[in-house]
Amino acid sequence: MRFLVFLEHHDGKLQKDSLGVLSKAASLGDVEAVVLGQGVQELAADAGRFGAKRVYVQDDVLLDKPLPQPRVDALETLLADNGFDAVLFAATVLSADVAAALAARLDVGLNYDLTDLVVDGDKLVGKRPALGDSVYVDVGWTSEPRLALIRSGTFEPQESGGSAEVVPFESRFQDFSLAATMVEQAHEESEGPSIEDADVIVAGGRGLGGPEGFQQVEELAKALGGAVAATRAVVDAGWYPYSAQVGQTGKTVAPKLYVAVGISGAIQHKVGMQSSALIVAINKDPNAPIFEYADLGVVGDLNEIVPKLTELVKARKAA
């Protein structure tokens, strides 16, 4: 089976998840890759180390900013001249939009949120956890190329030590593809504490009710000797700094203990903390998805439970 992997990059480096997908594809068949951007020739060649035999590169000022629509034009051109069986994307904010728009452009099937790929003869099977990961669905495609978005954090990059031939290509852009412009890019809102090395993390979500709610989270974290983390919802709302966000577009953490306070536990949050050794959740909604994977889930009001918990932890530690 012949795969093409879309490689995303940022700050002169190929994105880790897309290299993971590249490594996985290399274990399944012949794999080539594509890198789109400006000044990306050198970085493209790096894909050889992770199993790509050939890397197609469109180096174009119109691809300088990470916007999805011009990338659809480029991929359409590339795919028209090449008979790929499948095109794989590591799910990111950018790649998800590229993949879905490409599916509509080519009228081909896209399966998303996959956590594994299996080749069965000339068939490709995608594994997709659905309905809050409560059922694992085997999915297939009835058109080619098969498009797939792989859930973030699924495959680890593996160096195989090869080298790739770099093949430049060009494409034209549609007017509507160039209509959106990026006026500010990858701006880090504020510096904040690092959470990646913490043994204990207490994370707060929208259930805290407002930025002041983080005070009780901070007190609990202090009592436990841990760091404070947050969900995207509260970071987007400006309640807590981006540097402390856990999840798909934030940090991936694996502490010994993760306490989730007022967090629903959406998939995009889960991918950033599911490897924690112990997960404790406090949420007033018994149907919150977090209870599906918390080792201990307590259904109740965080405003009642958290202050008590902080006092009890302090007392234990003092004893």
Partner: protein, 259 residues
């Protein structure tokens, strides 16, 4: 300003959800509701309409006939009318097929702004807008946490894996909002009473000029091959807080030597 909001009818959050093994489709026989993430898009649309002082907010949905009742929540919040594409032939549509049907309905409306919610809570796809924007050939900005509209263009601030981007696009355009963009209003009693009287149109694929072969399973390009149980989980326990929740957590942590 005319704003179209794409909204989905999804199983009620409290309902047990399952995929029907015989059809391999989501079992939609239980209670349903307006996808909660789409309420953020409705709220943003109402704010934009009211700020512009004119125009309308139209809810566009593809779903079963029963969806109309759930869409009334958006009308009760203040939206002006609903267009529901309801057709047996659209059932079982995947991403390409759904985007085709939805785009056809949106083309008829020709709105200045098309808004989407963050994700459908039954598909967790967070992808449909990109396929629709492609079919409408309009600029797209997704994951928008702050939206400003002025002088015929929009500006959206959104988070990615690397920080925050600010993106501008001329109208007409497609925007998908994040769940942090606003706090959706609760419908007032008056709003709820008025909702029933607002225009609610149900259209078929034929009305939209969409071929039967272009929607539903026939128009889909992906398949569901098999349903499997999830991998066995470790011991997970869920307890009600009866006042001793905090003690139970401490005991648990002590037992696991995590204190």
């Amino acid at each position: 300003m005319k704003i179209a909001v794409c909204a989905k009818y999804v199983p009620e959050a409290t309902a047990a959800r399952r995929i029907d093994p015989s059809t391999k489709r989501l079992d939609r026989s239980g209670e349903g509701a307006l996808n909660a993430f789409d309420a953020n898009a409705v709220e943003e649309a109402l704010k934009a309409r009211d700020a512009s002082g004119e125009g309308e907010v139209v809810i566009v949905s593809v779903g079963p006939e029963r969806a109309l009742e759930a869409m009334r929540r958006a009308l009760a919040m203040g939206a002006d009318r609903v267009v529901l594409v309801s057709d047996e032939g659209a059932a079982g549509s995947d991403l390409v097929a759904t985007s085709r049907v939805l785009a056809a309905a949106l083309e008829r409306e020709n709105a200045d702004l098309v808004l989407f919610g963050q994700q459908a809570n039954d598909s967790d796809g967070a992808v449909l807008w990109a396929a629709v924007a492609e079919r409408l050939q309009r600029p797209l900005v997704s994951q928008v946490a702050e939206l400003t509209l002025e002088d015929g263009k929009l500006r959206g601030k959104r988070q990615t894996e690397y920080g925050y981007d600010v993106i501008e696009a001329p109208l007409p355009a497609v925007v998908a909002v994040s769940d942090a963009i606003n706090e959706p209003r609760y419908p007032s009693l008056k709003g709820i009473r008025g909702a029933k009287k607002k225009p609610q149109e149900t259209v078929s694929l034929g009305d939209l000029g969409v071929d039967a072969g272009a929607a539903g399973e026939a128009g889909s390009r992906t398949t569901v091959e098999a349903l499997n149980d999830p991998p066995a989980r470790g011991d997970v326990q869920k307890i009600e807080d009866d006042g001793s929740g905090a003690e139970k957590i401490v005991d648990f942590l002590a037992e696991k030597k995590a204190l």
